[in-house]
C-alpha cells in the first residue's frame, strides 16, 4: 500500500486510482479493521487530488469490477466492497458537508464583514461629513463672533475716543478760560478798590454785578474742569475706608461747617473697593450741599451712616434736616446744569449732583434722594450693585 505524506503536492489522479484499487483489494482480502481505515487515507488523497465525488464513484467501480472476478465468496466480497466505498464516501460526505457549511458560514461571514465594513465606511464617511460640517459651523461662528467682536471693539474704541476727546476738549476750554476769568476778576477788584468813589449808584451796582458774575464764572469753570477730569481719568481701584475718607472731607469743609454751625456725625462706614479721589469728591459734594441747603432757622444737623446693603456691597445715607427738595424736582437735580434756585439764593454750577451720579455709576452703583420739603433730604448711595 502506498502512503502519500507529501501534503503540499497534489497527487496525480492515476496514483489515486492505483492506491484506491490496492487498498480496496487489501480490505476485501483481509477484512481487517486496519485495512478498512485506509479508505479514509484514500479519500483524503482523492480530495487533495481534486477528484470529484462522481469520479470517486467511477474509480471505485473500476477497482471493484476487477475484484469481482476474483475467486472469493461472492456475498462477502460485495459486502466488503460496499463497506470500503461507504467509508471513502463518508469522508467525502464529511468534507463536502463541512465544506458546504463553511462556505455558507464563510459567505455569511464575508457578507457580514462586508456589511460591517460598508457600515463602518458609511459611518466614518458620515462622521467625517459631520466633523467637516461642525468644523465649518465652528469656523463660521468663530468668524462671525470675531467680526462682531471687531465691530464692538471698534465702536468701543470710537466711543472711548469720542469721550476722551470731549473730556480733553472740555478740559482745554475750561483750563484756558480759567486764566482770563481770573484776570477779569482781578481787574474788577482793582476797579472796586481804587475807583468805587467816582462811580454813581448805577455804576456801583453794575460793578457789583460784574464782580458777582465773574466769580460765578470762575466757579463754573472750576467745576467743569473737575467734571472733565473725572470723565477723562484712568482711575485706580483700591480698597477705600469710607470713615477716614469722610473725615478728610470734613476737614476740607471745616470753614463752611463752622460758619453754618453745622453738626455732622459720621457713623462707622465700610471699606469698599473704589477710586479714592472720586469717592472723596462724591462725599464732598453731598456734605457741602447738605450744609449749603440748611434750614434758615433750625440748627444744621447732618448724618452719614451705612445701612445693611441689599443687592449691593454698600449702601450709605447722607441725611440732613435742611430745606428739602420738592418731589417734582427730585429727578431733575441729577441732570447737568440743572438748578432749583437763583444764584443770589444759592450759588452753584448745577454740576455737583451730576458728578455724584457719575461717580456712583463708575462704582456700579446709583444715587437717589428721598426728601420731604421743609424737613430735610436724604441722599442714598449704593455701590457695586449686583447685576440682576
Amino acid at each position: 500500500m502506498t502512503v502519500l505524506r507529501a501534503d503540499t503536492e497534489a497527487p496525480e489522479p492515476a496514483l489515486v486510482a492505483a492506491t484506491y484499487k490496492a487498498a480496496l483489494q487489501a480490505y476485501v482480502v483481509t477484512g481487517n479493521e486496519e485495512d478498512l481505515s485506509s479508505a479514509y487515507d484514500c479519500a483524503r488523497l482523492a480530495l487533495r487530488a481534486g477528484v470529484s465525488i462522481g469520479e470517486v464513484g467511477e474509480l471505485h467501480f473500476r477497482a471493484a469490477q476487477h475484484l469481482r472476478s476474483a475467486p472469493l465468496a461472492r456475498a462477502q466480497v460485495t459486502a466488503r466492497i460496499e463497506e470500503f466505498f461507504l467509508e471513502t464516501i463518508s469522508v467525502y460526505d464529511m468534507a463536502l458537508h463541512g465544506y458546504g457549511e463553511s462556505v455558507a458560514r464563510l459567505t455569511a461571514e464575508v457578507q457580514e464583514r462586508k456589511r460591517v465594513e460598508e457600515e463602518l465606511r458609511d459611518v466614518t464617511f458620515e462622521l467625517a461629513q459631520q466633523r467637516d460640517l461642525l468644523d465649518q459651523q465652528v469656523k463660521d461662528r468663530t468668524a462671525q463672533l470675531r467680526s462682531r467682536l471687531e465691530e464692538l471693539r471698534m465702536v468701543n474704541s470710537q466711543l472711548q475716543q469720542t469721550n476722551q476727546e470731549q473730556a480733553q476738549f472740555s478740559y482745554a476750554i475750561s483750563h484756558d478760560l480759567k486764566s482770563p476769568v481770573n484776570t477779569l476778576m482781578m481787574m474788577l477788584d482793582l476797579l472796586e478798590a481804587d475807583h468805587r468813589e467816582v462811580l454813581d449808584a448805577e455804576g456801583r451796582e453794575l460793578l457789583d454785578a460784574a464782580r458777582a458774575t465773574t466769580r460765578r464764572m470762575a466757579h463754573m469753570v472750576q467745576d467743569v474742569l473737575r467734571y472733565a477730569r473725572l470723565v477723562g481719568q484712568e482711575a485706580e481701584v483700591e480698597m477705600v475706608g469710607l470713615t477716614p475718607l469722610c473725615q478728610t472731607v470734613l476737614a476740607d469743609l471745616r470753614a463752611e461747617t463752622q460758619k453754618a454751625g453745622a453738626e455732622i456725625r459720621i457713623d462707622p462706614l465700610p471699606v469698599v473697593r473704589g477710586v479714592a479721589s472720586q469717592l472723596h469728591s462724591l462725599f464732598l459734594n453731598l456734605l457741602s450741599n447738605a450744609v449749603k441747603f440748611r434750614h434758615p432757622t433750625r440748627p444744621c444737623r447732618i448724618e452719614v451712616k451705612a445701612v445693611p446693603p441689599v443687592g449691593c456691597v454698600a449702601e450709605i445715607h447722607v441725611c440732613d434736616n435742611g430745606i428739602g427738595i420738592d418731589p417734582a424736582y427730585q429727578q431733575r437735580i441729577f441732570s447737568l446744569f440743572q438748578r432749583l434756585h437763583t444764584y443770589e439764593e444759592y450759588s452753584g454750577s448745577g454740576i455737583g449732583l451730576t458728578l455724584c451720579q457719575r461717580i456712583a455709576g463708575y462704582h456700579h452703583g446709583d444715587i437717589r434722594v428721598s426728601s420731604t420739603p421743609g424737613e430735610g433730604a436724604c441722599f442714598i448711595i449704593r455701590l457695586w450693585v449686583e447685576e440682576s
Binding site: 453794575l206 454785578a209 458774575t213 424736582y329 440743572q338 438748578r339 432749583l340 434756585h341 437763583t342 443770589e344
Partner: protein, 133 residues
C-alpha cells in the same frame, strides 16, 4: 411807542438789570414786571384782573421751570387767555433745536440772543404795533 408794559422772566438778576437798562433807554416810561422764577411768572399770569402785557421776554434755562415748560404750562392752564400774548425768547442757547421748539408755539414771535440790543427792542415794538393794529 406801542411798548408800554413788559414782563421779564429770567433767573439772572444781572441779566434783568441789562433788560431794564436797554428798555428804559428806548423809552423811560416802559413799565416792567419781572420774575426770577417762571413758576412765579405763571402765577402772576393767572391773577384775575391783572393789567394787560404788551410782551413777555422769556429766558430758556432757568431753575425749577424752564422757558419751554413755562410756555407749555401757560398754554395748558390759561388756554385762550394766553393765546393772545406776545412772547420773545431771549437766551444764550446756541442749540438750534431750541429755536425750532420755540417756533412750535404761536405766541413766540421772535428769538433773540443775549444781550438784547436797541435794534431788538425796536423789532419787538414793531411786532407789538402790528398785533395792536
Amino acid at each position: 411807542m406801542a411798548l408800554r408794559r413788559v414782563m421779564i422772566v429770567d433767573d439772572d438778576r444781572f441779566d434783568q438789570l441789562a433788560y431794564k437798562r436797554i428798555l428804559r433807554k428806548s423809552d423811560e416810561t416802559i413799565e416792567v414786571v419781572s420774575f426770577q422764577y417762571a413758576t412765579e411768572a405763571l402765577d402772576y399770569l393767572k391773577t384775575e384782573g391783572r393789567a394787560e402785557l404788551d410782551a413777555i421776554l422769556l429766558d430758556i434755562n432757568m431753575p425749577r421751570m424752564n422757558g419751554f415748560e413755562f410756555l407749555e404750562a401757560a398754554c395748558r392752564d390759561l388756554q385762550e387767555r394766553f393765546e393772545r400774548e406776545l412772547v420773545v425768547m431771549v437766551t444764550t442757547s446756541l442749540d438750534p433745536r431750541d429755536r425750532e421748539r420755540a417756533a412750535g408755539f404761536s405766541q413766540v414771535q421772535a428769538f433773540f440772543s443775549k444781550p438784547l440790543t436797541a435794534e431788538n427792542i425796536s423789532s419787538i415794538s414793531a411786532l407789538v404795533a402790528k398785533k395792536q393794529a
